[in-house]
Assembly symmetry: C2
Homo-oligomer: 447 residues x 2
Amino acid sequence: MNLPPWRQIKNRTMTSDKLDQRPSAIREAVQNEYAFATAYFDRLTAISTDPAGGITRDTYGPGEDAAHRIMADIAQECGFDLRVDIAGNTYARWETGPGRKTVVVGSHLDSVPRGGNFDGAAGPLAGLIAMRVLRRLGAEPHVSLCAMGIRAEESVWFQTSYIGSRAALGTLPHDTYDAARRIDTGRTLADHMRASGCDVDALRNGARPLDPAGLAAYIELHIEQAPSLVEDAKPVGICTAIPGNFRYPDARIKGVHGHVGTPRRFRTDAALAAADLAMAMDTLWSKQEAAGNPMAVTFGRFHTDDAYHGLTTVPGLFHFSLDVRAYDAVHLDMVEREFHAIITRIEADRNVSIDLGERKSAPVGKADLAIRTGFATAARDLGIDFMEMGSPASHDAAAFAAAGVPMGMIFVRNENGSHHPNEAMEIDDFLDGSAVLTAYLYDRYCQ
Amino acid sequence: MNLPPWRQIKNRTMTSDKLDQRPSAIREAVQNEYAFATAYFDRLTAISTDPAGGITRDTYGPGEDAAHRIMADIAQECGFDLRVDIAGNTYARWETGPGRKTVVVGSHLDSVPRGGNFDGAAGPLAGLIAMRVLRRLGAEPHVSLCAMGIRAEESVWFQTSYIGSRAALGTLPHDTYDAARRIDTGRTLADHMRASGCDVDALRNGARPLDPAGLAAYIELHIEQAPSLVEDAKPVGICTAIPGNFRYPDARIKGVHGHVGTPRRFRTDAALAAADLAMAMDTLWSKQEAAGNPMAVTFGRFHTDDAYHGLTTVPGLFHFSLDVRAYDAVHLDMVEREFHAIITRIEADRNVSIDLGERKSAPVGKADLAIRTGFATAARDLGIDFMEMGSPASHDAAAFAAAGVPMGMIFVRNENGSHHPNEAMEIDDFLDGSAVLTAYLYDRYCQ
């Protein structure tokens, strides 16, 4: 036992009279990974603490590269087979026999600027822990297992979703490599990938490091990016679906700059047009939620033009980004139609022109029902409280689902949201989520 | 006659059978100032063309300083007495006798960044032309006359209204000199004024270069900063009042930054709170206009925080500036009370905190009824079409009115608004406005 005394005291009492020996052994073995888990997070903190606050592991940049080197080192220290694919994804593999399908347990290792340490990085660690525990307990999986550190999930950098996973699965449109540019450097995705050692030409020519047909399942553990689990006082969530989205990363409203004294009838105020748009979308959202259709609307960038704006100028130019997400493809399509009707109404009412720029989208990803059920059974057996929930955020799991791979996700309670430095996952909760994962892998693949 | 042949052809036909000789002589003499006027504007263009487009004459900076030197040179070339006061304002004086009150005809010589050449600078020129014409026609004013180039009217630079005129009149709060900082340089008003040769200490100790008791009137000619005159096809407008305003140059809305997938019930989105505020003010404005209460609402800066905003982040911080203006003090006060009620409602509804920052304000300035009537009589005598109108914009004339000086303003038709490079005043229209001014000065002070 590596646990300090206070950790042993803090362990939840098992209702052992209702359980056989197996869940208890798994849970104890996973809890013994406490020091391994904290060491992993500490190593990541050391290479990615941002002087401006929080954690920055920039996508296909020095921060993400360093995180992948750490994962590679740990994979080898643990005695797993290390592989790095031509899109830069890092794999710790436990090959159990030739010709067997693989269960991948992964998540991303990049972060938003000044983000948190657990967002993404918890996922590959859960995979490593599950593999370590199953090996230690003498389990004999009839699939190969693999922990995967995925590249380029945070779309803030290249304004594109699931780059690393889709590149590996062969589903990233090939024009993305030259079309997408990193928002801070202005350099293309291809340039950044080459600098991180990737073979962009091979990917563009159809190479597919991860054949979906060879995957039995994709499983991802991730901090919850909302406080639903905190609100309900549950350590673990089981994902029902990942929202699809439509996005306009770089939209503009053009009016006419004018003097602050311009009478109302002569104005074409781009900022008021933007406010009108935002409130119309907010009203639509509110009504949809009331009707039982969960969705989310985010104008992440929403701003007058800093080359022109000022106290005494009617804004003639406004910029915004928009992300709209929902859990049902038909509902999402309906919302997008209403969005376009609102745009048309505002252009007419306010005499502005709205240039939405490039449209991006991601399909809804439904969790595999057998995996969801297996997670729930495992959690009940372990005595770990959980709730089923739609994923607040997008995740690589959606890219695997879109490629036809059965997908499941486990969320871990997180106190202060994500994408900022104050995310606060308890390692206890993380180990509960990892125990559910490990017990599920044991039940499904080791018996 | 200095006019080229095409100018003579373009002159409007005078309805001379209905008019005596005087209006005709004044109008012709003013029209002969065409070359003088264009030379003046050309000299200003030469020293203030901005490489990024338009005209920049920065307040208490190199651009404004150069404009004042040009005005000083022209005053001396015309044989008027030159004076520069300790706030940096430039005067071309025609002293007609000891102890007489003075009629000041002025406007500002600064501009917004990348603005237009006529906004402000037309006013001192009109004063110079009126004095030149009256002198040439042998008029004998029983007041002294003075053209005044005013400093620091464009509040975009120091976020403060009427600095130059209020400094001269002794009505600028003395703490402004150290409190106000220029938005681009960050240096205090006092520093900038000293660099332009002003005596800030004397001003702060109560020196008052322009004693309101010594002024018979303040008259300002200015381009219209809206297209009302274009719409009504009239060259000249006569001001009824200058709007008062309340302003919050640097307000902030604080919410909580969150992940793009955060469910609605957990969000405190500062951008949606801002949109709610803007739409509430827009609705209030629309209703007030429909009720016959002209006003204007401008959120000139209206933006998410560029250190945090992004496609995948719920905005937790929003910045805005607000200018609200109206022509009636009671109405303006009512609007401000409603604004605060809206702020309170939004803080409660959306769980944000709104920090309005410093409040600035300017009182409503009513034009002197005798001057308005005199302008109208002069315009009718000259056969120049006009309309009465509230000033769209704020002007130094409001500072003179607030100091108890009878005030009048003449607006000149301007095709494309102001505060940007495309302002388009015709010199013909400017000379029509100058003729109204000159005829009024003749009628009121030379007979």
